[in-house]
């Protein structure tokens, strides 16, 4: 397991560096900068602002300055000449993502610190909805294969995958806020605030999970050890819960990694609709604002998150399926 983890860690480091290099270059090559506005700035003022953020440096030097704890100055190649403006951050490699270009009262670390827990919480609620709905619908479908129940579940699942979550959100807001005033329309703070966005976010994943569960269960249910269990006279309920479910859920587990990453990143539109101060909105806003440090910060953070989540899923696999060993991979 140590070997598995260290190999994963090494690959993560390499990916991290590549992602940082590529996204840094791409971002700086897009037209328009953080200070381009409808009202064009006086060149002298623009120069002052760019100098304050070192945007007047060559791109490679900006990258080094961004990544590492290096003491780079204005003069020469790496010179420690007098610095224009303040030099407020030390570099990503020591865990400092720098000040945000757009939200000047926050460092990127502050912003992530405030918004990541909110996105994570929304993600947890969404995954709970997704698992509860998806797994139970999947099992029911598998057990009543070909019945009307199975058909309607599968129809609902297809609908859930096909309908964008913001469409569903619109309907639910009309239903549960305006027609039956049960839930708040937007905002964040209490469990009530989380139910609607969590449900909308989880629904697409629930649909997918139900199909995976159904397929997995059908495969397991046709196997010999299930027949044996039935033959031993075990109650059908016990057979399903104890013997079939474990194997039947394997495809779901492998899907959980990407699903969790998807829940964290896919909340973008819902965050706007329900005005949730999470990470998703920063993804797009940072890019449109040309908030270089914030855009880099969220990109790198997600790189690490997705990588780690996949590693966790691989570990969880061994928990459910004794046939799989980490050493085998």
């Amino acid at each position: 397991m140590i070997r598995f983890l260290s190999r994963r860690l090494l690959w993560m480091a390499i990916t991290f560096l590549l992602v940082s290099l590529v996204s840094f270059t791409l971002m700086h090559s897009v037209k328009g900068g953080p200070f381009s506005k409808e009202r064009k700035l006086d060149p002298a003022i623009l120069a002052n602002m760019e100098a304050a953020y070192h945007l007047d440096w060559p791109i490679w030097k900006q990258y080094l300055h961004y990544m590492g704890p290096l003491n780079l100055g204005d003069e020469g190649w790496f010179g420690k000449g007098e610095q224009k403006g303040s030099d407020p951050f030390t570099g990503v490699l020591v865990g400092d993502f720098g000040p945000s270009f757009r939200y000047q009262d926050f460092t990127v670390n502050d912003i992530i610190g405030q918004s990541l827990p909110i996105s994570a919480l929304l993600g947890v609620v969404a995954m709970m909805w997704a698992l509860a709905l998806g797994v139970s619908a999947g099992i029911a479908s598998a057990l009543r294969r070909g019945s009307g129940l199975d058909l309607s579940m599968r129809l609902a699942a297809t609908g859930g995958i096909a309908l964008p979550n913001f469409v569903i959100a619109g309907f639910l807001v009309i239903l549960f806020v305006f027609l039956i005033p049960l839930l708040p329309v937007a905002g964040w703070g209490t469990l009530k605030h989380m139910l609607l966005p969590g449900f909308c976010l989880g629904l697409g994943f629930a649909a997918y999970i139900s199909r995976l569960t159904r397929t997995g269960m059908l495969e397991v249910l046709s196997q010999d050890h299930i027949r044996t269990a039935h033959a031993k006279g075990l109650a059908p309920r016990t057979v399903v819960m104890r013997h079939a479910l474990k194997g039947g859920l394997l495809p779901v587990v492998s899907y959980l990694g990407p699903a969790t990453a998807g829940v964290l990143t896919g909340s973008l539109v819902l965050e706007r609709i329900f005005n949730i101060p999470g990470m998703g909105s920063h993804f797009v806003n940072a890019a449109t604002n040309r908030d270089y440090t914030l855009a880099m910060g969220v990109t790198l953070l997600y790189t690490v998150l997705v990588y780690s989540l996949n590693a966790v899923v691989d570990l969880a696999y061994t928990l459910l399926d004794p046939r799989i060993r980490l050493e085998d991979q």
Binding site: K40, D42, D87, F89, P99, R102, R272, P277, L319
Partner: protein, 606 residues
């Protein structure tokens, strides 16, 4: 080791524990974030860039900063004329170039320190300092020595070549004593007092800033405006802030006029999606918002809480005058004559926007805008249109295009990606195609790319808008001087430039306005821009809110706000015109009203 060696019970236990931790964490976080409703909540439309007055430029930023800070003057909420703020009075010299402000002696910071003339001197110079890198530094360039301080660097060959000269003493802002501030200007500037009520020149607390610099030498800029460290001199102070969610304010008991402030707590939301904003308003989650989605306007117009009013903004198209066929003024006039302004206002924007034929929006009696050629106006609309189409075709033919000349080259209308701009562009494209038989396409670009395209003149016709900074035609006319940063049309006219520059130093106000009017007439005769409509406000305001006024700059001042009681609300409602636009809705706010301590005493005395 493998997890499979764990017993089933242990595994189940592990799973359950994990779930419990997640759910517990979720609930703990949720409880921590529960909020008491504030006396007043409004939606600011976006997350503000900063609370530092010197660092920001937007309208939403201004709204928050006016709650947290106060300048030498503040503006009357009805007509925006300058009224005493921290300065209780001021003298203006005979030549209108020296302003002396007398500060009140009871103005203090939220930490109890007195607000002094030195605070203003230091803050304004900090704003101008190239190290501060303030975007709005140029707002103070009317002050003697100010522009040089922001922009001048040592020349080539000097040992400090390229470095800022950085001598604050050269800026003509001086505290004569603790309560007297003298500012000398380059030229008589009729709107200078108004400028002193504009938030970039508001004071910041030097002690708080320097203490933050000591405590956090490298990250003070992101720390000193945070709750706990923030020190202001406005009616409210900062209680908490969560990015993209809300800013919470509580009343500043050290504010000199705290007796006249009604709301003890105020929440400022950052909802960007206008549909969500409207939903929050309709369910009572906020009491004021400044924009609504065009798609719901028809439903909102009959309500008493939605009453659009004209304000100082122009929606227009820039024309790239460096590129044939648009370098020909006859072509531009033909396009202008057939631009369906009335149609756009009536069927696309739908909020009562006014068709525009000038650069400068109406400014009441203060200034009469110069008009572009409207073509035929005295017949029926159909007859006028027909006449204008014939004239436009004749103009194009004169310019060498049409049946007997070259075909008109196909071109593009360029706009930033937004549904509202697209609908307007489609209406115009359709009109030009139908009336003039020319081929027009649409091209949209993401905001910053769009700006880049516009600046570098890589467009044919491009959508634009301008909101006046102050109540004077100069804020519009100044845009189109030759090579101006915000010209972006390639157009230039020496006579125009001479008039605009001459107006700056013209001491006679009437003559000055006449010069600006003549300049505007040159622009409107030549049409490097096609005016489309003047803006209207889109405020939704809770009916019970008092102290809120529509004004030409759509600037609002929470300091004067209060909740009316039922009696006052009934009086207000009795005065509504019977125009079907004032259907009663939920008034928000407490039935007993919420008045400032001073107002409460006045009411009790009656």
């Amino acid at each position: 080791m493998s997890f499979s060696t764990l017993s089933p019970t242990a595994r189940a236990g592990l799973g359950l524990t994990l779930l419990a931790v997640l759910l517990g964490g979720a609930l703990a976080l949720a409880r921590g974030a529960r909020l008491e409703p504030a006396d007043f909540t409004f939606n600011n439309g976006t997350e503000v860039q900063s609370l530092d007055p010197a660092k920001v430029t937007g309208v939403p930023e201004g709204r928050v900063i006016r709650c947290l800070y106060e300048g030498l003057v503040i503006k009357d909420p009805k007509d925006l004329s300058p009224v005493p703020g921290v300065a209780k009075s001021w003298d203006i010299s005979e030549d209108k170039k020296t302003y002396t402000f007398h500060l009140r002696d009871n103005a203090s910071w939220s930490n109890g320190d007195p607000v002094t003339a030195q605070d203003f001197e230091w803050s304004m110079k900090r704003m101008l300092d190239p190290e501060t890198a303030a975007e709005y530094a140029y707002q103070l360039w009317y002050v003697k020595g100010a522009k040089a301080y922001t922009t001048e660097v040592y020349p080539e060959g000097h040992e400090r070549s390229g470095k800022a000269k950085n001598d604050p003493e050269t800026v003509a802002i001086h505290a004569l004593d603790d309560h007297t501030l003298r500012i000398e200007l380059e030229n008589p500037t009729p709107f200078f007092l108004e400028l002193m009520g504009f938030y970039p020149v508001f004071p910041v607390n030097r002690r708080a800033l320097e203490e933050a610099q000591r405590k956090w030498p490298t990250t003070w800029e992101t720390r000193w405006q945070a709750p706990g460290n923030h020190v202001g001199n406005g009616p409210w102070k900062l209680k908490s802030r969560r990015i993209n969610d809300r800013i919470q304010l509580v009343k500043n008991e050290h504010y000199w006029d705290a007796d006249n402030v009604a709301f003890n707590t105020m929440d400022i939301l950052a909802i960007e999606n206008s549909t969500t904003g409207a939903n929050v308003y309709l369910t009572g989650g906020c009491d004021f918002l400044d924009k609504v989605d065009a798609s719901v306007v028809a439903q909102l117009m009959p309500r008493e809480d939605f009453d659009p009013q004209p304000y100082q903004g122009l929606y227009f198209y820039r024309v790239n005058t460096t590129k044939p066929p648009f370098d020909d003024a006859r072509v531009r006039l033909a396009l202008s004559l057939t631009l369906p302004r009335e149609l756009i206002c009536k069927y696309v924007t739908k909020m009562g926007q006014v068709p525009a034929w000038s650069l400068v929006p109406p400014m009441g009696d203060y200034y009469t805008a110069a008009q572009a050629d409207r073509g035929a106006t005295d017949g029926t609309p159909e007859a006028n249109l027909e006449q204008n189409i014939q004239r436009a075709k004749a103009l194009l033919a004169e310019a060498g295009y049409g049946p007997n000349g070259k075909p008109f080259p196909p071109f593009e209308i360029h706009y930033n990606t937004l549904e509202a701009h697209k609908l307007i562009a489609e209406a115009i494209m359709d009109a030009w195609k139908r009336h003039l038989g020319i081929s027009v396409k649409l091209r949209n670009e993401e905001w910053k790319v769009y700006l880049d395209t516009q600046t570098n003149l890589r467009y044919d016709v491009s959508r634009a808008a301008w909101i006046g900074d102050y109540m004077d035609p100069n804020t519009f006319v100044d845009l189109f001087v030759t090579g101006g940063d915000n010209n972006k049309t390639g157009w230039g006219n020496p006579e125009y430039d001479a008039l605009v520059h001459g107006a700056v130093s013209e001491p006679d106000p009437a003559k000055r306005l006449d010069m600006l009017h003549r300049a505007e007439q040159i622009l409107m005769d030549d049409l490097p821009i096609l005016p489309i409509y003047y803006y209207v406000t889109q405020n939704m305001v809770a009916p019970r809110l008092g102290g809120f006024y529509s004004n030409p700059q759509d600037e609002h001042f929470p300091k004067f706000w209060y909740w009316m009681d039922d009696e006052e609300l009934a009086q207000k409602r009795a005065a509504y015109p019977a125009d079907g636009g004032h259907n009663l809705v939920d008034p928000h706010g407490p039935a007993a009203g919420l008045y400032s301590p001073a107002a409460q005493r006045r009411r009790a005395a009656q």
